[in-house]
Symmetry: C2
Subunit: 405 residues, 2 copies
């Protein structure tokens, strides 16, 4: 079935039919080289929408407003700014998020409650609404505007994250496009990032929500950069139905391939987020197999991928596997030391809980690549999971010790 | 009551009556400047003992052996090595830990099962028992040997951690002495370090165990450096009764002051561990008050103190309080944003959930000191807790990206 899903070269959030986007520099972002900081997405047809949101008890007003809108009806558009998070600013934050919806709705010719509102950036600063008012006015939307939007979402990201896949449902060609931002404050507890996914498929709302939740659990929620989870996380999917298919719902033709395609797209974005972690030089992939349960596999994979000691060792290309075992042991997953096998980039360096002799220089050389995969076989059951993270470098510390200054 | 407890200048684990200690360089430690790496403690009288141990599912054989010994009877001595953890080495680890007890018992003239056995260092390497055999032979014990022992426990620690306090129980002058090591792999989930505490007080065993557990929860378990918890953590208390008092037990005269004195000693050691975190330049103190429960206060304090983003901001002396709120929000503690007050070194910078204007340069100057205190008043209840951590620096990354190389 995977053969039926193809990645689209240069694909992005505007790849599916009927979506356009655009961005501008409104003057909110002072810290990045790429100065786009305000963007819009428009769907020419109303979209069935689903969302997953931060679980942080401190949350941005934009999360509240978006959740209200998505729960209540169909969506037509989206507005996003980077630079200022609109968080911890009291009632003014809610007023400003609502005004962003009004301004975007007016610019796009749709109702304010048909708008998804997202902000990301520094906490505790009010949005300079005058800049946003001016900025929204001048944004030009284009059918290939997805990449500009992807850049406008970036904060400490060094590159935009975009993806699109195509597949067929019941004779109708469909596609899914997506963008994401996230570089710090990334840890699984919901999405911990912004990601916008579009599709021209017609999808029934409840199924869309359910599928997004399941997919988020094995993509965005398995992505960890620094263990901190943000106040502003939103993942939304917008499905405008222009592919002309009968609505996809639970058990319908197309349900499986849609879920698989969404998973491919979201996993791609999640890996790209991890790879672009603040200061990162390497992508860390932690695969856990043979766990007593899926929950055990998930917590074990995430704990290893988020261990500062493991991350530092990967940065140094140091096959210090004791730290992987330490992190596994403290994860809370059931572990029997004498049953654990560990592979580093395919090379078994521990079997049945005992180190096996390996050629150290060879493993160091392997770890010098762009991706380091730790595979832990627990030999206790059938639970499997994969987590993505990145190495911890001096650069991470430098970036984060002087972010607001 | 606190006035009745006095810190002893230069006090250490051999300050209480009847304890002697010593250390040598056996050749186990290759990475530290201070080359002592093997130490012994002897009590001239049998000790009532209590311990708390790592909760990591991967644990060193020394933890197993010590737990067996402490559970089964009175202790007379202790052997500790740094450099090699005796962890993840299969059955050989257990044999070696047992042999260490035999060797130490022989050297000290007591039974092997009267010995506490501790190791710390690199995981996955067998103990070079020939070196340990030779080393134990040559250790000379002295009544002022506690400081040598404290140095012999160090791995990436930059300085030994020692303390002693004196107090009076029912007319008997008593003291508590202690040493600790720990610099990385430090996170609350039990002790995540080695710490040995001695007292010349006579203490009933069950009360000693119960008191140690309570004290560990508000001292060692509130100390976090990097979120990773070790496979080798042990805290033991040895009480040899030479003060001549009637046994201290629950509700007896001396129960309160003993607990308070133990707490003072253990909190002192915990703060010193946090201050000496790998690469650290500043001690971070997170005080949470007004939480809905003590559990909430504990988790909130620990989460803020262990946030990489908070730690990086402290390193940069950056009053980026949004990160403190973010970490508070994701901690799982109940939080109502509009009720939260935040103080940085006594200066209120957020009140009722809203930033209040502060003189940025003044706060930056405050944060340049050796200690940074965040006080979070949640205004929801009576729960209070304090956690200790340290800043995250480039040096942490450097230390941990090349530890085994």
């Amino acid at each position: 079935m995977a053969g039926a899903i193809e990645f689209v070269d240069g694909g992005t959030v505007t790849t599916p039919r009927g979506f356009s986007a655009g961005a501008t520099f409104a003057g909110l972002k002072t810290f990045a080289e790429d100065k786009l900081d305000l963007g819009l997405i428009l769907s020419e047809a109303p979209c069935t929408a689903a969302g997953v949101y931060t679980t942080n008890a401190i949350r941005s007003a934009c999360v509240t407003v978006t959740q209200e809108h998505v729960n209540q009806g169909q969506m037509r558009g989206l507005v996003v700014n980077a630079g200022i998070a609109n968080t911890c600013v009291g009632d003014q934050g809610y007023k400003d998020a609502q005004e962003m919806a009004v301004l975007a709705g007016k610019r796009l010719g749709v109702q304010p409650n048909e708008i998804v509102v997202c902000s990301t950036g520094v906490i505790g600063v009010e949005l300079p609404m005058a800049l946003i008012r001016n900025g929204i006015e001048v944004i030009e939307l284009a059918a290939d505007g997805g990449s500009a939007l992807a850049r406008a979402m970036m904060t400490t990201d060094t590159r935009p994250k975009e993806v699109a896949v195509t597949f067929e449902v019941d004779g109708h060609q469909a596609s899914i496009g997506g963008v994401a931002k996230g570089s710090g404050m990334i840890h699984p507890n919901m999405a911990t990032m912004l990601s916008f996914v579009t599709t021209d498929l017609e999808v029934e709302k409840e199924f869309l929500q359910q599928t997004l939740r399941e997919v988020a659990d094995i993509s965005y929620n398995m992505c960890t950069i620094d263990g901190d989870s943000s106040t502003n996380d939103i993942v939304v999917v917008l499905a405008n139905g222009l592919a002309g298919n009968d609505p996809v719902s639970a058990g319908s033709p197309g349900a499986d391939i849609f879920k698989e395609a969404l998973m491919e797209a979201c996993i791609h974005l999640s890996r790209e987020i991890a790879r672009d972690g603040e200061g990162a030089t390497r992508l860390i992939i932690v695969e856990v197999a043979g766990a007593a349960s899926i929950q055990d596999a998930r917590i074990a994979a995430r704990t290893v991928a988020s261990s500062n000691l493991v991350k530092s060792a990967v940065y140094g290309a140091d096959p210090n596997w004791g730290r992987v075992l330490m992190a596994l042991g403290r994860s809370g997953a059931r572990v029997e030391e004498s049953k654990v096998d560990l592979f580093v980039n395919g090379v078994c360096i521990m079997q049945s809980g005992l180190p096996i002799p390996f050629h150290r220089d060879a493993v160091v050389a392997l770890m010098r690549g762009a991706e380091v995969t730790f595979r832990l076989q627990l030999n206790l059951g059938e639970g499997e999971a994969t987590a993505w993270g990145c190495d911890l470098t001096e650069e991470y510390v430098i970036i984060n010790s002087a972010y607001t200054t």
